[in-house]
């Protein structure tokens, strides 16, 4: 048995890239920040640096506190509703921002991103395919 999926967008990344990066635009209120984030299907949440939240004018600690488990312990983050754009698909998303400065990278995880899109990765060719997931199809 074989399966076929179709996607509206294809994105090429570099073999030399660390992880699978995507350009992301985050919007909150009247502000927006464009930055890089790594695709991480193993992450439960989208997690961004505190610095990005501050640039958007978000009061980080006013969000929903989330204790997140990591490979070597835990970290505290706060969840906020923002708009998140990747590959021309705009979502109302629940995104966590780290409590502390200096988070090593921004992550695109399941809640807030992956569960509202269709995604395929052919890492051998450094290709990522993406469409919006339309629950009302």
């Amino acid at each position: 048995m074989s399966f076929q999926l179709t996607f509206s967008r294809r994105h090429k990344y570099e073999e030399t890239d660390s992880g699978i990066p995507l350009n992301v635009i985050l919007q909150f209120g009247g502000s927006e920040v464009e930055c890089a984030a790594k695709v991480d299907p193993g992450a439960q949440f989208c997690l961004f640096r505190r610095e990005v939240a501050e640039q958007l004018g978000i009061d980080v600690e006013a969000g929903i506190k989330q204790n997140l488990r990591t490979l070597n312990g835990s970290l505290v983050a706060y969840g906020h509703d923002v708009k998140l754009i990747t590959l021309k698909v705009e979502l109302d998303s629940y995104v966590c921002f780290a409590k502390d400065y200096g988070l090593p990278r921004n992550l695109l995880g399941r809640i807030g991103w992956l569960r509202r899109i269709r995604l395929a990765i052919i890492d051998y060719d450094q290709e990522l395919y993406l469409s919006d997931y339309n629950a009302q199809d």
Partner: protein
């Protein structure tokens, strides 16, 4: 202002494209209403890619509240209750990359779903092509390892250890919406997750 000067302004206005005229009127309205004068400057330039669509939305938003609309330039291809509906109708007209947006109100049924799960609110929205910035990063990122970089127009605009300061410097130099990167070093150990 002398009558001749007013006539000159009107004459120049008439020579603008319809999009430029709308933008000029918007700016004038802003000035008359006393709103923030820098707003037009900070409007992301990526939106110019869909200027006709966004001008249409500004003009017709009230007529399509709580509906999805599909637009090709200033042409309304479809409107209806779901993204699937407007996508089907847009594609039936041969338009594969229509801008599809949910026009919502705070009282509407879609807005009430907020916080009950993520949802798609627009498709085919403009995003800047950052391939030139990525080319620059390939050559130079390692020189700035551990710093915040603001990139635009294929080049480095500002850099430093504070994102806030880097952003402020970029804005001061006329780049209010740059692409922010926290530079990595090629000597960093491979990533194994948090």
């Amino acid at each position: 202002m002398a009558a001749a000067a007013v006539e000159k302004v009107v004459s120049e206005f008439e020579q603008l494209s319809p999009e430029q005229q709308r933008e000029a009127l918007r700016l004038l309205r802003q000035k008359l209403n006393g709103s923030a004068p820098h707003e037009a400057v900070t409007r992301p330039k990526r939106l110019n890619e869909r200027a006709r669509e966004y001008a249409w939305l500004e003009e017709h938003r009230a007529e399509y509240l709580d509906q999805w609309v599909a637009l090709d330039g200033d042409r309304l291809l479809s409107h209806g209750p779901t993204l699937a509906h407007v996508r089907r109708e847009a594609e039936a007209q041969g338009v594969e990359d229509a801008l599809m947006i949910l026009i919502e109100t705070a009282e509407g049924p879609e807005f009430q779903k907020r916080g009950k799960g993520d949802r798609i609110v627009a498709v085919n929205v403009p995003m800047p092509d950052r391939s030139r910035e990525h080319e620059w990063l390939k050559q130079h990122e390692h020189e700035y390892a551990g710093q915040w970089l603001a990139l635009d127009d294929g080049r480095l605009i500002s850099h430093g250890h504070s994102m806030k300061e880097v952003a402020a410097e970029a804005k001061k130099l006329g780049f209010p919406n740059p692409y922010f990167v926290h530079a990595e070093s090629p000597d960093d150990l491979p990533w194994a997750g948090f």
